[in-house]
Symmetry: C2
Subunit: 297 residues, 2 copies
């Protein structure tokens, strides 16, 4: 499994994901922006907008390589001279407040020192948390994790709780999922096995999302629910712009802004000191945005 | 001019500003949240929402003091043990795309080492740049600056161009204004004179804004102009959450989130790779969002 074949497989994964999402949406389709990076490599950013299900979403593939820059050295602590990075990254903002926002990414990193690792994650941000749907989501993640290593789900679920957290709001971004980084042979699996784990996660992503869409797509929507959806999107924007290390590093290091910020919703709202009504559905969701919830049992 | 009297004067400035803005708005009024800071001090955050002119805005006063924390030492490079900080900070998001977003802040900082300084700034973010209005704004700022020091306007205007800049978009936040920091007797003025300069800026703020409101308030608005306003607000959110040092430091250091993020608009939009039509008003504004424009001549 060399870097070129990993990258090619990630491209094929992007194709499968876009195909599946177009079927799920049933109306809109992805438009592709292919771009080159001056210092080496490039990507294919695919965007879907104004769909029946997906209001705004992106599925990005990239493969970039070249000199390790000063900012990579200081911010990522990289030690080699040349790097190679490839990955697939997704954020979908649905139109309906009854369908969750979803994020997935898998990535591979290699240095000319011979060091390599995989990273990735999936997390779900329901505007309204439904325990049954949260359970299904986490069960599906656990199942794929367990196939590879029994430590993966408990470890990566905790990691997601910590990563997808908004400190200044003291709330999680949603119901979490899994997050992992710097995964290599030290975990006990071969490089090929870790790669297969990433691909399996990528192919799981659109299956679990199809279920979430099915649960919410026929539910009627009130103006109040739309307002709540927009406020939740505001928190999503805060997390991505203030807390997400990938976004911050991308913008700081001169990455392609439009590809990085494809994760932002078509619109988002803020209200000063907004407090949902006591015992409302909004309030129940707000109270569930905490770390350490066991969504499966 | 000791710290307590500076703080009291800043409170009175907040009162004058809120009174003037309520007159300008003509419909809505400010609601106050008074808050205490556990480690010392507190503030009065005043919010106006759903006005005739101002859709969402805040005028915040704060006076905080206590131990210099680890994060202040590393992020602000502070050397003393005790600090005292007081200031007034404003962001207004008008409803009409023909009225600019405006920001102003003046602040005073003191350490138990005896070191002190003033900082502040005003900048204007028109959704549609009108050269005549931009000129009036900068002329008014220059006039106040010139009263105190002939170096102030040229120096602080350049500083604003550099500060109110969004690197990942390669565009300024708007038409700039003035920005200054670490201003003390080293500039040749007495502490009282610098204080008076800050107060004069605060009292200039609502006068220049009244003019901007007058110019735009009766202009009809199209759906396209609202969409453009929301996209410009999206850039404002990006600047505040990614680039603004005050916001970042506030959130990192455990400041009051709702007071810090009162600067965010009621709603904002993002569209992938949005490009305004050639020769449109939107395109003209986009092309003027560059550093180094001499708006006065």
């Amino acid at each position: 499994m060399n870097k070129e074949s990993i990258s090619s497989e990630f491209q094929l994964l992007q194709d499968r994901i876009c195909g599946a999402l177009e079927k799920i949406d049933g109306k809109s389709y992805f438009l592709e922006d292919a771009w080159d990076r001056e210092e080496g490599g490039g990507g294919r950013t695919r965007i879907i907008q104004n769909g029946k299900i997906i209001e705004k979403g992106g599925v990005a593939f990239s493969k970039v390589f070249g000199d390790v820059s000063e900012i990579m050295r200081t911010q990522l602590g990289l030690k080699g001279n040349d790097f190679f990075a490839t990955g697939v990254s997704i954020v979908l903002h649905p139109e309906s407040p009854h369908i969750p926002i979803i994020h997935m990414n898998v990535r591979y990193f290699e240095l000319n020192t011979g060091e390599y690792w995989f990273g990735g994650g999936i997390d779900l941000t329901p505007h309204y948390i439904k325990p049954e749907q949260a359970k299904q989501f986490h069960k599906a993640l656990k199942k794929v994790c367990d196939t590879y290593h029994l430590d993966f789900y408990p470890k990566f679920k905790l990691w997601a709780d910590d990563y997808f957290f908004i400190p200044h709001r003291e709330e999680t971004r949603g119901i979490g999922g899994i997050f992992f980084d710097h995964l290599n042979e030290a975990c006990g699996l071969s490089k090929l096995q870790i790669f297969n784990f990433c691909i399996d996660l990528g192919d799981l992503f659109y299956k679990v999302y199809a279920y979430q869409v099915e649960c919410g797509k026929d539910i009627d929507t009130t103006a109040q629910q739309i307002q709540w959806r927009n406020l939740r999107r505001g928190r999503y924007v805060e997390f991505n712009l203030v807390n997400d290390r990938g976004t911050k590093f991308g913008l700081l290091s001169g990455g392609r802004t439009e590809s990085i910020l494809m994760s932002l919703p078509a619109n988002a709202s803020w209200a000063y000191n907004y407090l949902p009504d006591l015992n409302s559905e909004e309030s129940k969701t707000q109270q569930s945005l905490i770390k350490g919830v066991d969504w499966i049992y």
